[in-house]
């Protein structure tokens, strides 16, 4: 019986539960014993010229090793020059997940201008941490404030430009002008502008980096999702051969897309180590993290949906204005993905997308759990509900009519994606049945008839999501079976909570029969694993897991040859008994040879194989979430009382790990719908600068979740698996938002922007009753 699909507790846990993980700030390696502590001096203003920096007082403070400003950065290759006037960027480059550069280039330390509160301006190195804050307070920076633009409209108006040479705050405009012909042909058209609000990723471990330059080699420990990519980033920034750099990702305390590669603060820490010749280390505070780590989402979406009175959607448009913060770190990548997945799981004949990327005096935006796709799904799910309300049809029925039917796969969507496999209607029906939809609607009707203060809302979030969007980048694995029968897996993936060590061990055990306890999985050290991609985009199981499997199969082939020689049999007569983990001549158990014996016979290096799975394609998990909320119509307070989901990512390798990913995703998705929002005032000052004000969801605001099973394989990889990491978030946000609006739709409310805080819900109820029907 295969171990795959069974409930296996994690191999990572004994250590984490007894002595705790070793995150960057926990490292007690000898190389860092004398490390100086880095404290950043950051801009308190959203937009200003820097007219002077005086570090003299700071330099005299107790324990100060060095105070560094941009004037000290004289030992790095110069940045590339801006493009010539009129030069066209290569086609498609605007959608690459790379900084736009050119006029929009981002420095390491601010040069003569700061563009967001939190931008690093100077670095203080001290012997001890406590001294750092004291000394940083003594760094005196002269600022000449400039007008700040901190919201969509003031950014667009452009009275204040972040990059005067660019002539605009609009960094990119992509997509054709809207053509209304398809909508004019519809019986029913609904149009609305909605907000997908700015969020902060808030991994429980903030950003942290330690670095040492010794004997011509740069060693960097960094809380990252991608050690190998970080190494290439460092090589480019320093003008070094990657071979002269070692990057280590120790335990990482969550990332959610905001720790991809190495960011400017990490590069600065590495630079400070090389510049001063001393080991250095840095771990940001939460206040720093809330302005210094990239934010997510921040789209304004102009939606238009049209169709027939009997529920068929014929046309859908989503024009996105992406606030990218002060520097376009991801070009147009995020709204590009929003456009790619714009039509969601629906078969819509005409789909129109376009986007603009806007800079504002706020923290730069980058990937955050779902990176562009939650935005697409939240938009189309709101549009479908608005359409359903307009035609007076049950939103579940509208979905059923328009979901891509099973016989249309592979399906080319109007957004430009090709969905591999799906059972969208079955997923919807399964959730409706599992939730008891009809009884929920009946209870809702009863409460409405009685005029109860506590009204019930039922919301749906049907979705399809793209995982391993960069499948062509592949993932690596090296499998070694040692002469004592144990095995080591070197994986290019980089788990930060996902449990890859357990899952890869399960895959290896399944192929080779080596006991789980005898399998070690290693990741995140470029000295040991020079090539790999790391973990984001929900790619690791399908690409990294397949690589492990392929390397295991290669080892098995080698082993068969060695065992055949040992047993003086032909390979065709040999079999691997995975139950016992031994090689034997078929039908002759007495002939068995253990993995230890075979590996020892193979030579002093044992058996080893490398795999790089790059033939993969993206895969498209899907599902439907159903949220049930109770809204106190007198106060606007919302309580999420049930959340039922189908999240189909193909065959489940580890039910434990898959459920955990779904749970965590649901919580973050519900949090966006109900609580979280990064708020700036008109001058670009953060209003939600601590965890008192940025409302992370707690256990007290959530119910236990009801997860239903569904497994529709893909042909994109030999395991048949899709990614599960972001599906929960993508489905949950619209389900909860739609539920809240549904709870008060009988009072005339048509839409409430997220987060649906009590104040917002109450305001919507008030406005609807003041203006009468609809709003």
């Amino acid at each position: 019986m295969s171990i795959l699909g069974t409930r296996v507790v994690r191999t990572e846990d004994p250590r984490l539960l007894t002595v705790g993980g070793t995150y960057v700030d926990d490292l007690r390696v000898p190389e860092l014993a004398q490390a100086a502590r880095v404290t950043f001096v950051r801009s308190p203003l959203a937009h200003a010229l820097i007219t002077g920096i005086d570090v003299s007082a700071a330099r005299e403070a107790p324990g100060v090793v060095a105070v560094l400003t941009v004037a000290d950065i004289d030992d790095l290759p110069p940045p590339p020059p801006p493009p010539e006037e009129g030069a066209e960027p290569p086609p498609g480059s605007e959608a690459a997940p790379l900084p736009l550069g050119g006029h929009w280039a981002e420095p390491l330390l601010a040069v003569d201008r700061v563009r967001f509160v939190g931008e690093p301006v100077a670095m203080v190195l001290t012997d001890e941490t406590y001294q750092g804050e004291d000394a940083a307070e003594l760094v005196s920076v002269d600022y000449e404030p400039l007008p700040a633009v901190a919201d969509f409209d003031s950014g667009l108006a452009g009275h204040s430009l972040l990059f005067p040479a660019a002539g605009s705050n609009v960094a990119l405009t992509i997509g054709a002008a809207a053509d209304d012909a398809a909508f004019d042909a519809c019986d029913v058209v609904v149009e609305r502008t909605i907000i997908n609000q700015r969020l902060a990723p808030v991994p429980m471990e903030g950003r942290a980096t330690a670095a040492l330059w010794a004997d011509g080699k740069l060693t960097v420990w960094v809380s990252t999702q991608n050690a190998q990519i970080s190494r290439f980033i460092l090589a480019g920034a320093f003008g070094l051969d990657p071979a002269a750099i070692r990057v280590v990702a120790p335990d990482v305390g969550g990332a959610f897309g905001a720790k991809i590669g190495a960011d400017r603060d990490a590069l600065l820490v590495a630079w400070a180590a090389r510049h001063t010749g001393r080991a250095v280390r840095w771990a940001e505070t939460r206040s720093e993290n809330l302005v210094g780590m990239t934010h997510g989402r921040a789209q304004r979406q102009h939606l238009k949906i049209g169709g027939t009175r009997d529920g068929r959607i014929l046309a859908y448009r989503n024009v996105v204005l992406q606030d990218t913060g002060a520097y376009p770190r991801m070009s147009g990548f995020l709204p590009f993905l929003t456009g790619l997945m714009a039509s969601g799981p629906y078969d819509i004949p005409t789909v129109q997308t376009a986007y603009q990327v806007l800079v504002t005096n706020t923290t730069p935006i980058s990937a955050y759990r779902g990176a562009g796709r939650p935005e697409a799904t939240a938009a189309v799910e709101r549009a479908v509900d608005l359409f359903a309300t307009e035609i007076g049809m049950d939103p579940a029925q509208v979905r059923r009519i328009n979901l891509v039917p099973p016989d249309k796969f592979p399906y080319s969507s109007g957004g430009g994606a090709v969905y591999d496999t799906g059972e969208y209607v079955a997923a919807l029906d399964k959730v409706l049945a599992g939730a008891g939809y009809d009884e929920l609607r009946a209870e809702q009707a009863r409460r409405r008839a009685r005029g109860d203060t506590l009204q019930l809302g039922i919301g749906l979030g049907s979705y399809v999501e793209i995982t391993a969007a960069d499948a062509a980048g592949g993932e690596t694995a090296r499998v070694v079976v040692h002469d004592n029968g144990s095995a080591t897996v070197y994986t290019g993936s980089s788990a930060h909570g996902q449990g890859h060590h357990t899952a890869w061990a399960m895959l290896l055990h399944d192929e080779l029969g080596i006991p789980m306890d005898d399998i070690t999985v290693v990741h995140g050290d470029t000295d040991l694993i020079p090539f790999g991609t790391g973990t984001y985009a929900s790619r690791s199981l399908q690409l990294g897991g397949t690589a492990v499997r392929n390397a295991a199969i290669d080892v098995k082939e080698q082993a068969k040859g060695v065992a055949a020689a040992m047993l003086e049999a032909s390979e065709a007569d040999l079999e691997l008994n995975t139950e016992r983990g031994v090689w034997q001549v078929r039908g002759d158990p007495a002939s068995s040879r253990t993995w230890a014996e075979v590996a020892a016979h193979a030579g002093p290096q044992g058996l080893a194989a490398d795999a790089n799975f790059t033939e993969g394609q993206p895969s498209f998990p899907f599902g439907t979430h159903l949220a049930v909320v109770e809204v106190d119509t007198e106060t606007g307070k919302v309580r999420l009382i049930r959340h039922v989901t189908v999240d189909d990512a193909g065959p489940v390798v580890s039910p434990l790990l898959a459920e955990g990913q779904r749970h965590g995703g649901i919580a973050q998705g519900a949090a966006q719908a109900l609580l979280e929002e990064v708020v700036y005032d008109a001058d670009g000052n953060p209003v939600t600068g601590t965890l008192v004000d940025y409302a992370i969801i707690t256990a007290a605001e959530l119910p236990s979740f009801e997860l239903l099973a569904s497994e529709t394989p893909t042909k994109a990889n030999p395991l048949g698996v899709k990614g599960i990491g972001e599906a929960g978030t993508i489905g949950a946000t619209p389900a909860v938002q739609n539920a809240v609006i549904d709870a008060v739709s009988h009072l005339g409310v048509r839409h409430i922007d997220m987060p649906a805080t009590p104040a917002r819900v109450w305001a919507a109820i008030n406005e609807a009753s003041a203006t009468g029907e609809g709003q």
């Binding site: 507790v9 994690r10 990572e12 846990d13 004994p14 984490l16 539960l17 007894t18 002595v19 705790g20 993980g21 070793t22 995150y23 700030d25 926990d26 007690r28 941490t129 406590y130 808030v202 991994p203 429980m204 471990e205 335990d251 990482v252 305390g253 969550g254 959610f256 505070t285 939460r286 206040s287 930060h496 909570g497 996902q498 449990g499 434990l656 790990l657 459920e659 955990g660 779904r662 749970h663 965590g664 995703g665 649901i666 919580a667 973050q668 601590t690 965890l691 008192v692 992370i696 707690t698 256990a699 007290a700 959530l702 236990s704 979740f705 929960g728």
Partner: protein
């Protein structure tokens, strides 16, 4: 100033600046790095330890306030023979951790919660953990772990 406290059963003394926070005393002087700092406004609970048997946020206490008192961190939970505490066992069995950063604080908060309320309802568990943030698990399995540990405690 000189601060002395019992940490996980052993005495730790050190000469530290008066403003030293208990969490840094534990990490740097006692050399116990499981307890983590997750915020600067006493919001997240990652720094939770037991002080004289009760859960506290060690980032919001001076080491001086714990002088002469007894602290237990995650590292001190397993018994002398290395046998895991029921709460540690339950967190593993129920997959109540992913990245592990919130886990030491979450486990210590759970130990304290079960001392004060040995048979909590799900709602009581969720409310009792309101001061412990987790970004990975969605709390579903953490709640299951707490209830499982409570069940095991009741049975024994």
């Amino acid at each position: 100033m000189k601060v002395t406290m019992t940490v996980n059963g052993s005495q730790v003394d050190a000469e530290v600046p008066d403003r030293t926070l208990l969490v840094h005393f534990l990490r740097d002087q006692a050399g116990l790095s499981a307890t983590n700092v997750g915020c600067d406004t006493s919001s997240c609970g990652a720094c939770t330890v037991l002080l004289d048997g009760r859960s506290v946020k060690s980032c919001t206490l001076l080491a001086a306030q714990a002088d002469g008192r007894s602290v237990v961190t995650l590292e001190g939970l397993a018994n002398g023979d290395g046998e895991l505490h029921p709460v540690q066992r339950a967190f593993r069995a129920e997959h109540g951790l992913q990245c592990g950063f919130c886990t030491p604080g979450m486990v210590m908060a759970t130990v304290s919660l079960l001392e004060e309320n040995p048979a909590p309802t799900e709602e009581e568990v969720r409310t009792a953990l309101e001061g412990n943030l987790c970004r990975c698990t969605g709390y579903h399995n953490i709640v299951r772990a707490v209830l499982a540990a409570a069940g095991e405690r009741q049975a024994s």
